[in-house]
């Protein structure tokens, strides 16, 4: 006779038990030796969830030493990986994502009512029972800031060599080279030139790459927004500083190319839903500098128009650009001293910073808003490739 065996539904408690002597192996397999590629197709931030489940069990059995030990080993393991891969965007982004997720878990399951408003009943059952890990949350927050700073440093390092070339020197607008100031004609190229010059598409491709990596790894959208705000600030600062020091790029045609390049970058931001990130606002000085290059610079009315437009440029910066401005040809006049005096008189009420150049090393302070997950701990599966059978 056929017998139907009714399998009892397993009720997982959402915790992972391990022996103390397996802690080193756990941290090795889940942190130090882990490669992000091994987890393709799995739930984003899986290491963070697994670590929380181990912490939860140690809490459940009231073993404070085990909790201390695991958190310390984990944090040190993450720092070790980041030191080894201090030039690897993907690895750094992976651990930023996981560290933030672990921090969110420790809040979401802390038992503090303020962090539980979006929890399901099942998730409330998975809160910590015995220990308050507020101080460890602070450590994870500090670690997250360090990882974020490393991520920005790597990304800026990749973009830096491209910026001046792509924003100021490469011509993508057809026919613009005919309008360049005499003696400054440069041939246009669509890709990288033999002399290591870059076009705007190179910057856009790189931004796409950064964005894809961070999204695939489940980095919080609010953090992704802050990354791009920071990167766009750097593009603005490096480009503007270059403009303020070079006569050959202070021309009407550069203004035209720059406005086009900035509009391409704005369109990219809109396409990725990042136009509310503050990135466009960081480009405002450069946008105004580009417009200044194209405005008329002769009459008192022109001076008034410039002063009311250039609210994000200092007097010193406006005067510098006007001094450097190179006419298109012998029929266009240079900017007169009298015109510059008119500008200075109109702006003398302003309390401008004294320095000419922007600080390209400036970093906006980063925030990590609380971002609870809808995932329940009892639904997590451990892929075999992680070699965590001992859990």
């Amino acid at each position: 006779r056929q017998v139907t065996v009714q399998r009892k539904e397993k009720d997982f408690q959402g915790m992972l038990e391990y022996h103390k002597e397996d802690e080193a192996l756990l941290v090795r397999n889940l942190v130090t030796d882990l490669k992000p590629q091994m987890l393709l197709g799995t739930v984003p931030c899986l290491p963070a969830y697994l670590l929380y489940m181990c912490i939860r069990h140690a809490d459940y059995v009231n073993d404070d030493l085990k909790v201390h030990s695991l958190l310390t080993s984990t944090i040190n393991g993450i720092k070790k990986v980041l030191k080894k891969h201090n030039d690897d965007f993907e690895m750094t982004s992976f651990w930023l994502s996981n560290t933030c997720r672990l921090l969110h878990c420790l809040k979401q399951y802390s038992g503090d009512e303020g962090f539980m408003t979006q929890n399901s009943m099942k998730q409330n059952e998975h809160c910590l029972k015995n220990f308050d890990l507020t101080e460890y949350r602070q450590v994870l927050s500090d670690l997250s800031i360090q990882i974020y700073q490393q991520l920005i440093k790597i990304a800026e390092g990749v973009l830096q060599p491209m910026i001046v070339s792509a924003m100021l020197e490469n011509e993508s607008i057809q026919g613009l080279s005919g309008v360049k100031p005499t003696g400054y004609r440069k041939r246009s190229s669509s890709m990288v030139d033999g002399d290591n010059s870059y076009c705007l598409e190179a910057i856009v491709r790189q931004m796409n790459s950064f964005h894809a990596v961070m999204c695939d790894q489940g980095l919080d959208p609010e953090i992704i927004q802050q990354v791009f705000k920071q990167l766009f600030y750097v593009i603005n600062a490096v480009t503007l500083n270059n403009l303020l020091l070079r006569k050959d790029v202070c021309s009407w045609s550069t203004g035209m190319q720059l406005r086009y390049n900035i509009s391409q970058l704005e369109e990219w931001l809109r396409g990725r839903n990042l136009h509310q990130s503050g990135a466009v606002q960081t480009m405002e000085p450069l946008i105004q500098a580009a417009q200044l290059l194209q405005l008329k610079k002769k009459t008192p009315e022109d001076a008034e128009a410039i002063c009311s437009l250039c609210t994000s440029l200092s007097t010193q910066q406006i005067v510098k650009i006007l001094n450097l401005y190179t006419p298109l040809n012998e029929f266009e006049e240079r900017v007169t001293v009298a015109f510059i005096r008119t500008i200075q008189a109109q702006l003398q009420e302003r309390n401008d910073p004294q320095q000419l150049l922007l600080d390209s090393k400036h970093m906006f302070p980063v925030l990590f808003p609380f971002n609870p997950s809808s995932l329940t701990m009892d639904s997590i599966h451990i892929p075999a490739c992680l070699n965590l059978e001992f859990l």
């Binding site: 404070d64 909790v67 201390h68 958190l71 310390t72 944090i75 040190n76 720092k79 070790k80 038992g111 910590l128 029972k129 015995n130 220990f131 308050d132 890990l133 507020t134 101080e135 460890y136 602070q138 450590v139 500090d142 670690l143 360090q146």
Partner: protein, 31 residues
């Protein structure tokens, strides 16, 4: 009878720098 859950015990944590020092000294001690 319903029991009020006992309050959670705050676990003191070292700072990030202290954790790194602990890790460095452990590595130096190991053969």
């Amino acid at each position: 009878s319903t029991q009020r859950p006992r309050p959670r015990v705050l676990l003191k944590a070292p700072t990030l720098a202290e954790m790194e020092e602990m890790s460095t000294s452990e590595e130096e001690e190991s053969p």
